[in-house]
């Protein structure tokens, strides 16, 4: 117990240190960027005294360390500053855009896991066979074909040519403003509102980006599962399990797979973090109003507060998921104390 407490506090302090480092880095990047946030806010033609006044209002006339301390104390109060572009506090914007990304990423991860793990296990069991080769080619394609290309091809076929896929965004224009926002997840909110047509519409809008993102992630998950499983199947305990008279299915799923599951947690956590970071390209192609799009739009417009805020959020997600994987690892693998 005492050991556990000790390792937990060690984990926590490393998390805090990482987050502090991340804050310093993003803040500095925001300040050394060769754009002037004041000009971005007031425009090129603003008179000199306006520029000076706004600069003082934004606190940019003070030395960098003072600015940083000021920013840090704001952060600790949950204040990420204002977005020049949306005229909203960054925190409000993130709360509005992040659920869209979260919905996309979670659905994609679920699909990728449900397909990727069985495929990887299947390929490992049939190592060297035609099935194995076919799965490997499928994964290689998922890994190497750029997402934007797949997205475009998908849109071209299912939206433009066949007309069976819905248009861009998260919902049809007729449902715009009809669904009260509760969780921010369109699929959940439509269900909560009891509007099944809107629910179907939300799912239809999700289908293409989710499948494309899932394919990309699935390729990675399946490849890692295959590699881990091939290793596990060589274990002596697999021979023991067979010598006990267990069926092939049981040997694979209840003896070899559990030893691999622990390793897969890390793979899944990193995949999920990658997806939550906002699949910038996918969100752009499908006009999905998520964090990736918010980040790129802000960056294009030199709106630095949202950029720093979103970057911090992404960092927080990575650190958080890593921590979660670490804790799960400890809970699930009896060998790790």
């Amino acid at each position: 117990m005492k050991n556990r407490l000790k390792s937990f506090s060690a984990m926590l302090s490393s998390v805090i240190l990482t987050l502090f480092g991340l804050t310093v880095l993003t803040f500095l990047i925001g300040r050394v960027m060769p754009v002037d946030p004041v000009i971005a806010a007031v425009g090129d033609n603003a008179p000199e005294d306006v520029i000076l006044r706004v600069r003082a209002e934004m606190g940019l006339d003070q030395p960098i360390p003072v600015q940083f301390l000021h920013y840090l104390s704001q952060l600790l109060h949950g204040d990420f500053g204002m977005s020049v572009l949306t005229k909203n506090p960054v925190a409000t914007d993130i709360a509005r855009f992040f659920p869209a990304t979260f919905e996309l990423a979670t659905a994609a991860l679920l699909l990728a896991t449900l397909v990727g793990i069985p495929l990887g296990v299947w390929a490992a069991v049939r190592q060297g066979s035609f099935t194995d080769q076919a799965i490997r080619v499928l994964c290689l394609a998922g890994h190497s074909v750029p997402v934007f290309m797949l997205s475009m091809i998908s849109l071209l076929i299912f939206y433009s040519a066949l007309g069976i896929a819905p248009g861009p965004g998260r919902q049809d224009i007729i449902y715009d403003g009809m669904i009260p926002t509760v969780t921010g997840l369109m699929s959940v909110d439509t269900l909560l509102a009891g509007d099944l047509d809107a629910f179907r519409d939300a799912l239809a809008h999700m289908a293409q980006p989710v499948i494309i993102l899932a394919y990309f992630s699935m390729a990675y998950i399946a490849r890692m599962t295959r590699a881990f499983m091939i290793d596990a199947l060589k274990g002596e305990y697999v021979i023991t399990a067979r010598a006990k008279g267990l069926s092939g299915l049981k040997v694979v799923w209840s003896h070899a797979f559990p030893t691999v599951a622990v390793q897969l947690i890390t793979v899944l956590a990193l995949t999920y973090a990658g997806l939550l970071e906002g699949a910038v390209v996918t969100e752009t192609v499908f006009s999905w109003p998520g964090i990736g799009q918010y980040l790129t739009t802000s960056l294009m417009n030199a709106d630095m507060n949202p950029v720093i805020g979103s970057t911090l959020l992404v960092g927080l997600i990575y650190v958080g998921l890593n921590l979660l994987a670490d804790i799960l690892y400890r809970l699930l693998d009896p060998r790790v104390q």
């Binding site: 002596e236 021979i239 399990a241 010598a243 009896p334």
Partner: protein, 275 residues
């Protein structure tokens, strides 16, 4: 006859060619204790694994006869083999550190062996597992049942392995170097345990080892293997007075505490033996 092996050949097909490993082994085993001795790579383990059909798919196995209690192993389906493996023939592997599943509790692994062949509820199986652990002389079997393989010693792990393989009351026990991964003091204990349980239950035992005195002590008969063949087969009690030059050579290479030698002799091999 529990086991009949006649002219067994095992080989591996690789990209560079065919590599034969076992070249015409014939053995018979009833309700008795047969030891197989021989140096590493002589084909002892392969022979035992072929009997349980536990070799990788790409292995080539040929035999005039390979049978367990009259059942032809060569033509047996995977489903038929599952009725033999575990249920009628137990198989103890060398090192419990690798042969027990690292992420499953000891109790659940023993219980699984019991339940697979005897049915019943999970609770019944776990109770049976605890009784079995007690039978292999584990003190505090309840606590051990709840622990993981890495938490117990090698000797304890091998006891667990024995309990697991005896769970469905098999007629034959194959032990593939069951003590070579253990400390010398534990080795004797484990062997005594195996011998006790085998005699008590009237089982056949196939003990694979490279420890000659140990085999001559514990078994009824001994088969000496070299380069994929059986060199000679003799009563265990006569092993120390064996006539075959290979067996004599092996015996000569053993260091002795009573008659210490400056240098141990090197084993000489005669190609004539393989003709």
């Amino acid at each position: 006859m529990l086991v009949e092996i006649q002219n067994l050949h095992i080989g591996f097909q690789s990209r560079t060619g065919f590599a034969p490993a076992v070249k015409g082994v014939s053995l018979k085993l009833g309700t008795e204790k047969l030891g197989i001795v021989g140096e590493s790579g002589s084909g002892k383990s392969l022979t035992a694994r072929a009997l349980m059909k536990l070799l990788p798919k790409q292995t080539r196995i040929e035999a005039d006869r390979l049978a367990f209690d009259g059942i032809d192993i060569m033509s047996a389906s995977e489903r038929e083999m599952r009725q033999i493996r575990g249920k009628r023939a137990g198989f103890i592997l060398q090192d419990p550190k690798y042969s027990l599943n690292p992420v499953k509790t000891i109790g659940s692994q023993v219980a699984e062996a019991w339940r697979t062949h005897k049915g019943g509820s999970k609770r019944q199986a776990l109770e049976a597992a605890i009784t079995l652990l007690e039978q292999v002389k584990i003190r505090d079997p309840k606590k051990v049942a709840g622990s993981y393989p890495h938490e117990v010693s090698g000797g304890m792990g091998q006891r667990v392995m024995i309990a697991m393989m005896l769970a469905p009351d098999p007629e034959l026990l194959i032990a593939d170097e069951p003590t070579s991964a253990l400390d010398a003091t534990v080795q004797a204990e484990i062997l005594r345990l195996i011998e006790e349980l085998v005699s008590e239950r009237g089982m056949g035992l196939l003990l694979i080892s490279h420890d000659l005195p140990l085999v001559s002590h514990f078994c009824d008969r001994v088969a000496v293997m070299y380069a994929g063949r059986v060199m000679e087969e003799l009563k265990a009690s006569e092993l120390l007075s064996a006539q075959h030059p290979y067996t004599r050579g092996l015996l000569n290479c053993m260091p002795s505490l009573i008659h210490p030698k400056e240098r141990l002799p090197v084993l000489t091999r005669d190609p004539e033996w393989l003709k």
